[in-house]
Structure formats: C-alpha cells, structure tokens
C-alpha cells in the first residue's frame, strides 16, 4: 500500500528526514517510536502532504502511484487520513456540520442518516457527550482531551485506507488514553486497512499490538523489528539504541 524509498526532506533549511525506507502493507500496524525531534511528525506531514516539509530526494508511492507532488486533499480523498495533535479551529461551523459538509465535498455515498447515528454512537463511546456535534468546530473551548478524541472521531468517520496517527498520548489522562487505544486497536483491525502510529510513548503502543516497530532518531529510521523492540527501548533507552 505504501512504499517510501530513500526519502530525504527539509524544513526551515534543516534536514528533518534522512534516507527513509519503509514499506507498509494492508492489514499491518506500524509504530514509529522516537524521542522528541526525531522526525516523526515530519514523516507524518510528508505522507499527508503538508507543505511545511520539502522533499529533496526519494519517493513516496501509495497504491502504486507516486504521490510526492500530489495535493493534500487528493491524498485524503484517496484514503490517507491523519490524526493531528494540534488543534486547528474552523470558524462558523459546528463539529457535526463540518463533518457533514466534508462528507458532501468528498462525495461520500454512505447514507447520511445512518452516518449521523454512527457519529452519535462514536461521540458516546469516546466520552465526548451528546452535544458534541452542536459545539463550535474545534473551538478552543474544547479541552485537549476532547480535541484529540474529536480527531479520532474524524478518522473513524472517514474510514481511511491508511491511517496516520501523530503523538496523541501527550497530556491525556489515563482513562482517556485507554478509550482512544480501544478505538485505535479496533479501527486498525479492519480488513484492508494499514495504520502507522507515531509516538514516543512505549506503553501506549504496547496496547495497540503493532505488527512492525521502528525506531527513529535524528531523522533516520535506525532500527526495525517486532514487538521485542519495545522491550529493548524500555530497558536501554533511545540513546543506547542509536549508538548500537
């Protein structure tokens, strides 16, 4: 589904990704671990297509098509959906009206009444409350917890082929983290879907049961393996891994 080859990228004239190679197939859950400023968010942005990152070398292929220069909205319409940890307020919309409008623009053919019911169920299971849909979209009246849950709500509503999840575990209460992990794990198990989770928290990722684990340090993927890597990171820390 996703093939990243020799990807090098810069942001603000600094190399943030260096010679990244990664392949993600259907039904796989990859987690990319790394300390702060390892380049995880840069990699996620380059996959989503955000212009803060400039690809200088290498390629990203998605569903057998090179997408280096594909606009963000087209990538999204083709199934690459990201969950961001930063809250962007969208004025003059409520949470539901925004989702409803986006589904319309995406020419989503699913029945809107059924989707609204599903939205209500998700609000409830995520602990967002019944009136979440009527609140101002992404407004700063939302707590961090609500904002992150709201992003997951988007992800679940849009049903991605490739789900990209940025550090969501920061500043979350244990109970909220648990709720989100349950949803992520369930979402990632959907047949045909691929998921990449970027994080620096090993404990959260243990619960998601990844099929592949990678370690990223200084813009490079330095190590790839299975769940056993989580244990090594817990014991040795990133600095020891990067020098081994």
């Amino acid at each position: 589904m996703l093939k990243i080859k020799n990807l090098t990228a810069i942001a603000q004239e600094q190399i943030v990704l260096h010679d990244i190679n990664l392949e993600v197939k259907r039904n796989e859950i990859h987690v990319i671990l790394g300390p702060e400023k390892a380049g995880k968010t840069a990699l996620m942005y380059s996959l989503v297509g955000l212009p803060y990152i400039e690809i200088t070398e290498g390629s990203i292929h998605y569903k057998n098509k090179k997408i280096n220069n594909q606009p963000i909205h087209q990538r999204s319409q083709n199934g690459i959906i990201g969950v961001f940890s930063e809250l962007i307020e969208v004025p003059n919309q409520t949470n539901w009206s925004l989702i409803e409008a986006v589904l319309k623009y995406r020419k989503d053919t699913r029945d809107i009444t059924t989707l609204k019911e599903y939205y209500g169920e998700l609000c409830q299971s995520l602990g967002l409350g019944e009136i979440h849909g009527y609140k101002d979209a992404n407004s700063d009246s939302m707590t961090y917890q609500e904002a992150i849950k709201n992003e997951f709500l988007w992800l679940l509503m849009l049903e991605p082929s490739l789900a990209l999840i940025d550090n969501f575990d920061e500043r979350l209460e244990e109970e909220d983290t648990k709720i989100i992990i349950e949803h992520v794990a369930k979402m990632a198990q959907v047949d045909g879907r691929a998921t990449i989770i970027f994080s620096k928290d090993k404990l959260v990722l243990e619960a998601v049961k990844p099929t592949h684990v990678h370690v990223m340090v200084d813009g490079k993927l330095i190590l790839s393996g299975g769940k056993e890597l989580l244990q090594r990171i817990q014991e040795d820390g990133y600095s020891k891994l990067s020098t081994s």
Partner: protein
C-alpha cells in the same frame, strides 16, 4: 458641506450630515431619486434591487420615510461589476412608534459605497443587518449614521463583511444617542472575514451616548481564513476553494438567516454564491 464634510464623517464626527444636493452635485452625476413612503399604521415589505449598469461614476439618493406606528421591512440588494464606481445615499426617517427592518446586501465594485442617515423618533425601532463582499480588488463600504432621538427607541445593527484578495470592505457605524432618548437601546455588531492575501476589513462601530439611561453595546471581530485552516481541511479531503466556500458559507449563514422570506434569502445566497 461637500468633500470636507465627507472627510469629517470618515473621521467619525457625530454632528455631521450629508447634504446630498451639494455633495452629489459637486462630486457625482445625480441620478433619479426614489422615495419610499409608508403611511401611518401601515405595514409593508419591499425589496430594492439596485443593479446599475452605468459606465461612469454613479450616485443615487433614496429616501425612506416610515410614518407613525408603521412597520416596514426593506431589503436592499446590490451587485456591482469590478469596474463600477457607485455611491448610494439613503435618508431614512423612522417616526414615532414605527419600526423598520432594514437589510443591505451588497457585492463587488471598484468603489461601492452605501451611506445611511437614519433618524429614530420616540418609540421607533431600527433592526438593521447586512452583508457586503468584495473579491474584485475594489472597495465596498457600508456607512451608517444613526440619530437616536426618541425616548425608548431601539437601534440594532449586525453587519458582516468579506474581503478577498487585495480587496477591501469598510464598515463605519456611528450612533448618536441624543439627550432626549430616555431608556433607549443600542447595539452595533460587526463581523468580518478576510480570505485572501492583501484583503482588508476596516471596521469601526461607534456609539456616542448623551443619555445615562440608555443601554449601549458595540463590538467588532475579524477572522482570517489562514493557511492552517486550509491545510487542516485539505487533510480531510477539501480542495482549497472548497475550504474557502465552506468557511464563508458558515459565516454568511448567521446573517442570511435573519432574512424572513425564503425566496429573498435564496436570492441573497445566489447573489454571493452564484455557482449553487
């Protein structure tokens, strides 16, 4: 009067009044004057469609006189091409116990200015609302100057403005609450959105109250459709033009919903979103 007075008005001089004969006579070709006159105790609803096509600079002077205890609903629709320069001056009188719901919806123009001079007598009520938009690289303006003279009179205004790339809107709302206006109420609200580089929404609501029993409030807020919002919505699958359309529609709705008649509301939606 004339251009000097015009400049005084721009500075917010509350005692200044337009003299249409002199002003238009010197600065513009004076077009035909329209008068809307409603008799005592009557109620009516009027839509004024002002879509002039004159190539030169145009000025129009309209009078609206709402008689005692009458109830008038006026909606002004105006669209101007990017090359047109036009000024509309509206002289409005709301007499004792009368009420006027006044909507102004204006779009485009190189220079497109709507100036309202409004007097409100005892128990008179003005509920005004409107929306202006310029994406032509020009300047669209709504200037209101209200003399709230009467006791227990009411004046509310909600004006929305949208400026696109290198375009400008101006809202200047001045209300003078006169010493005789016991227990008067005044509220001015201006909301703006800028969607393009070099776009500018100039906004100046102002209330000068000479009566301590009057309740007044005014405010203004401006938002920008910045790249963060566009990128965020793009990540959900919206093309940049769709993002702008979505945010703008939400912005417009709050004002367009004030239009009571469905067919007029639809006409206004079409005016600002012709592709629908």
């Amino acid at each position: 009067m004339g251009i000097q007075s015009f400049l005084q008005a721009e500075k917010g001089d509350p005692d200044w009044l337009f003299s249409p004969d002199e002003y238009f006579g010197k600065q513009f070709k004076l077009s035909d004057a329209n008068t809307v006159e409603l008799k005592d105790g009557q109620a009516d609803s009027i839509v004024l469609r002002l879509n002039p096509t004159e190539k030169g600079m145009l000025a129009k002077h309209l009078k609206i006189d709402v008689r005692e205890h009458a109830d008038l609903d006026v909606i002004i629709l105006n669209e101007s091409s990017p090359k047109l320069q036009q000024v509309f001056l509206y002289d409005v009188k709301i007499r004792e116990g009368a009420s006027l719901q006044l909507g102004i919806f204006t779009k485009g123009g190189k220079f497109n200015k709507h100036i309202f001079q409004i007097e409100i007598e005892d128990g008179g009520s003005l509920a005004s609302y409107g929306y202006m938009s310029n994406e032509d690289g020009g300047d669209t303006e709504i200037i209101t100057k209200v003399f709230q003279q009467g006791a227990q009179s009411l004046c509310t205004q909600l004006i929305g403005a949208h400026a696109g790339e290198d375009s400008q809107t101006v809202y200047q709302g001045i209300v003078r609450v006169c010493p005789e206006a016991e227990i008067a109420e005044t509220s001015l609200e201006s909301v703006n959105i800028v969607t393009g580089n070099g776009g500018r929404c100039y906004s100046r609501p102002e209330v000068i109250s000479d009566n301590v029993t009057a309740k007044v409030q005014y405010g203004s807020q401006t938002q920008c459709l910045d790249s963060n919002i566009t990128f965020y919505l793009a990540s959900k699958g919206l093309a940049p033009q769709d993002s702008q359309e979505l945010v703008l529609k939400g912005f417009q709705e709050a004002i367009f919903d004030l239009i009571k008649k469905d067919e007029i509301r639809e006409e206004v939606v079409q005016l600002f979103n012709p592709q629908e």
